[in-house]
């Protein structure tokens, strides 16, 4: 069984991945930051290294993860995502942090 999880990417990453609108990826449980981003990068390999470091898989400093009006950026990678994200009611937002000009 897998879950269809909706992801909203920032404009630059949509362009890089050559997608428009939301991306939906199939994720096997447990649905966590790590498993969701693994699935996203498997489907869109050009996103490798843009959200997480290639080797350490740590979130890049100016990338944030939001969902259900919560900032989930500081969750450990294996934290389960909210039910509303897992069941597709709410999207998982990858956000370029407000910084610079």
């Amino acid at each position: 069984m897998t879950y269809a999880v909706r992801i909203v990417l920032p404009a630059h990453l949509k362009k890089l991945a050559r997608v428009s609108g939301e991306v939906t990826v199939e994720v096997a449980p447990p649905v966590t930051h790590r498993s969701l981003l693994d699935a996203l990068e498997a489907r869109h390999p050009t996103l490798r290294g843009t959200i997480r470091d290639h080797r350490t898989l740590k979130r890049r400093p100016f990338v944030r993860f939001f969902a259900c009006e919560q900032d989930l950026s500081h969750d450990p990678p294996d934290t389960p995502l909210p039910d509303a994200v897992v069941d597709g009611a709410e999207p998982y937002l990858v956000v370029g942090a407000m910084a610079g000009g």
């Binding site: 920032p10 630059h12 990453l13 890089l16 050009t46 490798r48 290294g49 843009t50 959200i51 290639h54 080797r55 890049r60 100016f62 990338v63 370029g96 942090a97 910084a99 610079g100």
Partner: protein
């Protein structure tokens, strides 16, 4: 009719400027990769339709883009630059040991003979090579592991490997330069390296003639005489006639010997171009007058080239990778400014016009001479 393609990297995207051999009417395409910093764009000398671009962002990291149709369409290729082994430390600004961390690709140097091979100079300073069209990158770690590596420290712009010169007569010889470690040479295709900084003097380091630690801004060579190197250092314009084994100063009558770019005329190996900048803190032309200086004697005697360049109230900078020459019979010279202008001279520097005036700050300029 032959023509030129000028490849411009800027703070907010890449632009491609094309003209026929007269170089009077220009078509401008771009921005490509809008919103990203494009540190460098350079075409393969083997296949001019193959062009490489370094695309980078503080948010989303490094991309390398490749075009196989002269810049009309692009494909992202490999973007993983992993240092070989445990990278160790270099000096930080405060003198503490700082781990080597990849930040971005400053310079891409395509092979002179193989369109699948390209070199990348990165920050923190290291040299990478791809032999599979950019899919994968492998560090030539003999450079970073040279014994002086732990003593290298960043210049104000970061600890970047910004210059890569491939010797057209000796395929095993490579020159590179790092701010602020200095110049290095390999004579075994990148396996081992030696510093080539003898004769450089830098007052900003504790030992002015140390083996490493010099802030070399740019090195240029003429393909017919690759043993002759010209260097714009932080301060001082330098020349070597022995492949970097020794250097002598050729700043001569320049109004300031601080600057960033340096380049050599396509057909005259003793004709050299620099853009003097007032000082290390005042990064603009002396007296607000944008002047390219040309030496036709390999240095020491310099002539100001001003026709068509702003001669009052001009306070732009010209960065280290932002000057290039074409190879047409009447050699064209090109440079871009931090004010967004790209200037061209189709006659070796005697007359200048702005191809474009209002781009984002220009980081790099390269030129392809097309058949």
């Amino acid at each position: 009719m032959s023509g030129v393609r000028v490849l411009v990297g800027t703070r907010k995207g890449a632009f491609i400027l094309t003209a026929d051999g007269k170089r009077e009417r220009w078509d401008v395409s771009g921005p490509h990769f809008a919103g990203w910093e494009i540190y460098h764009v350079k075409g393969s000398p083997v296949d001019p339709n193959r062009i490489w671009a370094s695309q980078t962002s503080g948010w989303f990291g490094q991309q390398v883009q490749r075009s196989d149709d002269g810049g009309t369409t692009w494909e992202p290729v490999g973007n993983e630059f992993a240092y070989d082994g445990v990278p160790g430390t270099h000096q930080w600004y405060d003198g503490t040991a700082h781990p080597w961390e990849f930040a971005r690709v400053w310079h891409l140097e395509p092979s002179l003979t193989d369109p699948e091979t390209v070199y990348a100079g990165v920050e923190d300073a290291a040299l990478f090579r791809s032999r599979d069209g950019g899919k994968s990158w492998h560090e030539l770690s003999g450079l970073r592991k040279h014994g002086s590596g732990p003593n290298w420290q960043p210049g104000a712009g970061g600890m970047c490997l910004h210059t890569i010169l491939l010797d057209p007569k000796n395929p095993r010889r490579i020159f590179i330069a790092i701010s602020a470690a200095g110049a290095f040479r390999s004579d075994d295709a990148g396996e081992t390296w030696q510093p080539i900084n003898r004769g450089l003097k830098s007052e900003g380091i504790p030992d002015p003639d140390a083996e490493v630690g010099h802030c070399v801004h740019r090195i240029a060579q003429h393909p017919a005489r690759p043993e002759v190197l010209y260097m714009q250092k932080h301060w001082d314009v330098m020349r070597s006639d022995d492949g970097g084994d020794s250097w002598r100063e050729v700043s001569g009558n320049l109004p300031s010997d601080f600057g960033f770019p340096i380049d050599v005329h396509a057909h005259e190996p003793e004709t050299v171009y620099v853009v003097p900048i007032k000082s290390d803190s005042e990064h603009f032309p002396p007296d607000g007058r944008l002047r390219v200086y040309r030496s036709r004697s390999g240095g020491n005697e310099w002539q100001a080239l001003t026709e068509g360049l702003p001669q009052r109230d001009c306070y732009v900078n010209v960065l280290r990778d932002a000057m290039a020459v074409d190879r047409l019979d009447s050699c064209g010279i090109y440079f871009g400014t931090t004010g967004g202008q790209v200037y061209a001279s189709p006659d070796g520097g005697d007359h200048w016009t702005a191809i474009v005036r209002d781009l984002p700050p220009v980081l790099s300029v390269e030129v392809q001479t097309l058949p």
